[in-house]
Amino acid sequence: MSIAGEHLGQGRGAPGLRHRIPQHVIASPSSPFSGSLAVCLALLTAWLVIGAAGLLSPRNVRYAGRLLFVLGALVGFALAAAAAWSLVKGVTETSVLPIGLPDLPFHLRIDALSAVFLLLLGAAATGVSLFSAGYFRESDGMAPGLLCLQYHVFLASMGLVLLADDAYAYMVGWELMALSSYFLVTTQHRIPEIRRAGFIYLLMAHVGALSILLSFGLLQGGSWHFTFDAMRAAHLSPGWAAGAFLLALVGFGAKAGLVPLHVWLPEAHPAAPSPVSALLSGVMLKTAVYGMLRVTFDLLGHPVWWWGLVPLAAGLLTALYGAVFAAVQTDMKRLLAYSSIENVGLLFTGLGLSVVFLGAGMPALAALALLATLYHCLNHAAMKSLLFLGTGSVLHATGQRNLGRLGGLIHRMPWVAALTLVGALALAGLPPLNGFVSEWLLLQSFLFADEIPRTFVNLLIPLGAAVVALCAALAGYVMVKFYGVIFLGQPRESSLSEAHDCGLLERLGLGWLAVLCLALGLAPVQVISTLAHVTRQLTGSAAPRGATWWLLAPIPGRAVSYSPLVFLLAGAAVVVLTVLLVRLFYHGRVRRARPWDCGFGELTSRMQDTAEGFGQPIRNIFQSFFAIERELPTPFDAAPHYRIAISDRIWRALYEPVAGWVRRLADAMAVLQRGRISAYLLYSFATLVFLLAVVLAT
């Protein structure tokens, strides 16, 4: 475990990592605890049982909605604990389950990488399930029992994806995940837009799955064995390996929402009920990142440095795209969906950077970039789930998703407002919360990019840091807009005065995620030393941990450190001291009065910035990103009317032409479809003759 003496740049030209990884794998199962995999499997099965139990009394909200979801949350907590245990112990276990087709048993495996993501799944599911227990009501379209089934199948299928050790089990889990989440997205299937969103989601999920399947086809390297072990052992020519990598990038990128494959994400996330959005964004996007990490670092083994440039560039573009679009949204859940796209971009940026470093023979730096990626996965799961759940509470209390009809909810919903504030500040990347830690790690790893021994790359990559910095700052803008418009100011509708705070279970769910945000923010040294198991597995180098338990100093030889705890204590001390001194020397008298109206008269809520107004600077600065349709009133209008619609250029530039070709192709094929039985019999006959000819010829 010691990392003493390991220096940056050491390991340049080291022998292939492939040889190092199995050694670690062989060394680790000697841990005293065995059966980690069995425990995880049992917990996933428990989720399935809970889901099936929902069908016993599907219409009973108290039973299916309350009881079963709380049980599901407990299972999630247990899963997180089991995964954390096996991660800390460094367990690697495999087993073969004789289910599925006769000759194709499920190969399963838990190692450090899957344990981290299982931990993420369990921890996020705990909060989301607790919240869901209080959230789902009678009127939500689908019967609660049915919802409970799909919800828990969704959770269990994500677990299967993380545990799978052969392509077959992986694809079964992957497809199960796509289907169960499709039904969850279309919970309110009576609304046409939601059906459309679900269709786009399903379509993109399958385009992605196809690409992943092809990638697995390349990865087996002619051995026709589809276990991951066979893929690890396969020797691919550089061209095929690059092909497998790029196909995997397309497939997993489609699931994660990488531009230009992101179009389903801002449609599907808002359509789903809020807890489902939280899972989609918080956990499911991370399974795509998991898959990409698995293929790149584990199955392919030793990536070539230039591969990394592709996810790096795509990630930076995605991050900027998502951040800019998030700033101009007027629907609170769409805003969060675009913000998820931004964060996925940052994840792929870190992944790409890590590949570049590893390929250039700098495993310590690869570990640092990978660490930033993994850390951000955990962070984003906690904070984005928290925010989506917060929007769920707002939606329930007000029935509004449109930012233009919200406002001032901090007075009506103090719990939701306070807990959501934690998530918003974390997502804005402010210290000492968790979003900042991963941003800090990512920027630190960018700072070493000038040491890459490739001339143009070391020149261009530092520019990536500029984009990351811009995205981080934009995230702050987005979060001020999100929080300020929903919770602060005056209520924009009179009906908002009837809004109520959320119930106890919902508070517990939100609170759990807020605590996760705080813990991940304040204990980075502990988190990093846990994640080091993964970086050692994937890059052969453990990212160094902190100098002490409270001081994060990830880079040996450089005087770089960050201690959120000291930071928070110092800040809190100053604040408390200031409050006390002001009270001591002066007074604490407060008078309430009407706000200053500049002598204008009555201030109305319509005088505040709307969501459109708040996004206007971004709309102006990044005009070329958007396709804007605007109707402006003229001075002669009797009833002046203003309307603006902002849409994605990529729809028109990429998807509509493709959809057009597909339709034209289908029309051409329709010629065959005569609707006459004699024609079809003729086709069958011709096919038969053709096949017979082929058989005879060979």
């Binding site: 900042f436 910095a469 702050g476 300020g484 005056q490 930071f567 309430r592 505040q608 107004g613 206007q616």
Partner: protein, 317 residues
């Protein structure tokens, strides 16, 4: 832990708290000289703060707790920043807690709280100010980060004291990349501290104001803390500038009485020069229209990126 560094740390915070309003007074004095008018006393900012502390706070009826907490958070962030920035000495106890990136994060925290508080009451000016502040912030923050990146790449660390110690130990020749970043930093300083040409600290003309618009609802002790915090912000930015571009004279290794007694008058000298320079810039330039501010900041960002490119190009050679 030895007592010396702790005393030096306390001294640094105390100097920042005491000198920040005076620095604002000095800039106003210089502006008055350049405009050929007689200035108010340089001590006016202190009197103003004292007066405000004595008054009763008037809050809007619908002000939430966030509105009342924000001044303390903003002030606290600025004080912590002052403790981290090596204005008198490097290697102080609190310095390990945060490097330059965390410092930028700290400024962002203050900005976010200020903007949220401005949106809290829900007046037209508050939200307008918040929107403009965030617009300037989201462009200024990456520019500032880029400036810090260039300095970090040169000195192979992101810890501000280490950067300034490294730069101070180098020869006196100006690094070309640092020249570009110095321009960028100056532009960021003007924008972030609500100075002309981006904002006018003396105006209450509604169409143009940014910072003042956000403070309209504040009164008494809350306003005093906000004013003090914005004075501290100017002081902090000036000290970051000194640490990066004129790092000589900061007691890097020797945190003894001698080093500190030398550092204080030197800091005063640098502040006097910087204040005069700021007054000159403000006097000779005209205020930009708000919609031109992004271009101004994009220039800053580009200069910083240019500095980065120059560094990588020259450093690689």
């Amino acid at each position: 832990m030895r007592l010396g560094p702790l005393i030096a740390q306390a001294l640094e915070i105390a100097v920042a708290l005491a000198a920040a309003p005076l620095f604002v007074g000095w800039v106003n004095q210089c502006r008055a000289w350049l405009a050929n008018r007689s200035a108010p006393s340089m001590l006016l900012p202190y009197r103003n703060i004292r007066k405000l502390f004595h008054k009763d706070a008037v809050l809007a009826q619908n002000a939430s707790p966030l509105f009342r907490i924000a001044p303390y958070v903003v002030f606290g962030a600025m004080v912590v920043a002052a403790a981290i920035i090596p204005s008198l000495a490097g290697r102080l106890p609190l310095v390990v807690a945060a490097d330059a990136i965390a410092l930028v994060g700290l400024f962002a925290t203050a900005r976010v709280f200020l903007s949220l508080a401005a949106m809290d009451v829900g007046t037209a000016f508050g939200t307008l100010g918040a929107r403009r502040e965030m617009m300037i912030g989201f462009l200024a923050e990456p520019a500032l980060l880029m400036v810090i990146f260039v300095a970090s790449l040169i000195s192979a660390t992101t810890a501000l004291p280490a950067i300034s110690a490294h730069l101070a130990s180098e020869h006196l020749v100006i690094d070309p990349s640092l020249a570009f970043t110095a321009i960028a930093f100056t532009l960021v300083l003007l924008a972030e501290n609500a100075r002309i040409p981006v904002d006018n600290p003396a105006t209450h003309l509604e169409l143009t104001m940014i910072h003042e618009a956000m403070l309209l609802e504040y009164s008494a002790r809350h306003l005093a803390l906000m004013e003090w915090a914005s004075a501290l912000r100017l002081f902090n930015y000036a000290c970051i500038g000194f640490a990066l571009f004129v790092p000589w004279g900061i007691a890097a290794r020797d945190i003894g009485p001698l080093g500190l007694t030398l550092a204080i008058p030197l800091l005063a000298l640098k502040l006097a020069a910087a204040g005069a320079g700021l007054a000159v810039i403000e006097t000779v330039s005209a205020k930009l229209r708000v919609m031109r501010a992004p271009e101004f900041l994009a220039t800053a960002f580009l200069f910083a990126v240019l500095g980065l490119l120059v560094h990588v190009l020259l450093g690689g050679a």
